[in-house]
Amino acid sequence: MSVLPLGRSRTDQELRPQQRRNRRRNLRAALLFISPWILGFLVFTLWPVLYSGYLSLTDYDVINDPNFIGLENYGQMLEDPKIRLALWNTFIYTVFSVPVHIIVSLLLAMLLNRVTGRASGFFRTVFYLPKMTPPVAIGILLLLLFNGQNGLVNGVLGWFGIPGPSWTTDPAWIQPGLIIMSLWTLGASTIILLAALQNVPQELYDSARVDGANSWQTTWRITLPMISGSLFFLTIVNTIAAFQTFTEAYTAYFGSGNSTYSNDAALFYAIYLFQQAFEFLHMGYASAMAWLLFVIVLVVTIIQMVVGRRMVYYEGDGNG
């Protein structure tokens, strides 16, 4: 009998009759093991999703019972200038941060792929380190490093004779600051891409070189197609995350402390939703906002999947 991993199950013919009789008992045992998730799914996913749909059609402030108002929340969202602002900010943040994030991660991964042994381990550690920093602390670092008068960033720009802007107070520069700061934690993506690069079979490069391809050509014709699956994955995941970005911007620009300057430029969708729900107690309105976010994320992900399917090379697929 060959060794069969659990991942490959035996066909019915291979099962002995006694095992087949055990099936019913099997089902009971399986459900027992899965029961924590089933319970959690019903209570903390399925019911909340349905109830949130209902709440989005009501006016609800937690204290008084939900008051059914039909689609009024959705109508109100169309006229709320802050929704438009929050959507725009989130859109800009996503459109700029995600591609830059992936391109820089890829460049670093390619550099890292040229180094081996101890040095490679050292750099991987260093690149991942910022990812361990709590997002609250990253929000604070943003305020400190990008401080207009005496922050480190403007200090460095000063060496090159560039007068740095007021990153944290000038509405035009708040977004760029947030985007740049978000790049600080791209080390995890670099490590994912490095793993993908290391999985590209060396024979491909060898035969390409025999055919006279230079490294520019091998990068575009071999490397990128071979790691397109990982690039695609990172694009989807980072886009979804960017749509929901909250903690760093909330820490730096919202909360009870800040009243000195306009933070409109940092009003991301998740922040406005949070304010509506838990600061203004507009639970119905916030639920409607959550559903809009859900639909946007879903639509964007589906578009990416459709486009991605054409561009991603899967091994054995033959349509690279």
Binding site: V3, L4, P5, L6, G7, N26, L27, A30, F33, I34, P36, G40, F44, T45, P48, Y51, L55, L107, L108, L111, R124, V126, Y128, P130, M132, P134, V136, A137, I140, L141, L144, N150, G151, L152, W184, I191, I192, A195, A196, Q198, N199, Q202, S215, S230, F233, V237, I240, A241, Q244, F246, G255, S256, G257, F274, A277, F278, M283, L293, F294, V297
Partner: protein
Amino acid sequence: MAETQLERAVALPPSDLAKERPRTRPPRRRRGNPLARILTWAGLGLATVMFTYPLLWLVSASFKPRSDVFDNKLIPETFTFENYLTVWQEAPLALWLGNTAVVTVLSAVLVTLSSAMVAWGFAYFRFRGRDLLFGLVLATMMLPGAVTMIPTFLIWNGLGQVGTLTPLWAGNLFGSAFYIFLLRQFFLGLPRELFEAARMDGANNWHLFTRIAMPLCKPALVVTLLFEFQAAWTDLMRPLIYLRDSSTFTIPRGLKALLDQFGFGGNWHWEIVVTASVITTVPMIILFFLGQKHFVRGIATTGSKG
């Protein structure tokens, strides 16, 4: 939280976490070109400075007197422990750290055990509708947290738990889609023979899980523990939603309160904010160095199959 979970969520080759993968490519590309080598090292060096300097800056600033915090010198001109004493007096830090420890340990342990159970249920047993059900597990990862956030709050509010630490960890009793996925991938790589042999020897289902499967997948369990430990420690949104009294704060929530009070808030004491940031961050850095191998391998294996 949703973002970090998703970020790690893609086909993990079975049992990949157990072993270091051999490099498929011999590492001797283009030794010959000195310019390329110089550029490589320069690029990596620059990146190293970018990634580490902010943290070094933060630690260094925490040892500077108030007037020097922004002097951007790596070595403090006047070295002082004063800030740490001040923070300790200004804020109930021991309490916050204690609360965070409770939430973090409970979250990590509970989610690891429950996810492992569920993952085992999906990996070992075969029953009708299994793949459909597992598809549902994966589908929940796509759901933005905002959709369930409000009703979940209402559940805890109804149970009178708002203002306590319970909502921050109790949901972890029910497993978490990403970890279920990760651990199942791992279980799928175990040889079925092992379990059939154990069954011959009279082991029941529970024994198969606790005595054979769990010990064999220790590396994946460690990855789960570490990832959740970090997620629970650094979370801000849920403490913002559920915690009211400063005595119940976790350390990130407390740090935000300190920022609001001493950062802007009219009285500019950035040295307090800086020092509290260091105190919040250092445990994660320690965690990272303790479990470095697991973090890097865990993250590397997640994205490897499109």
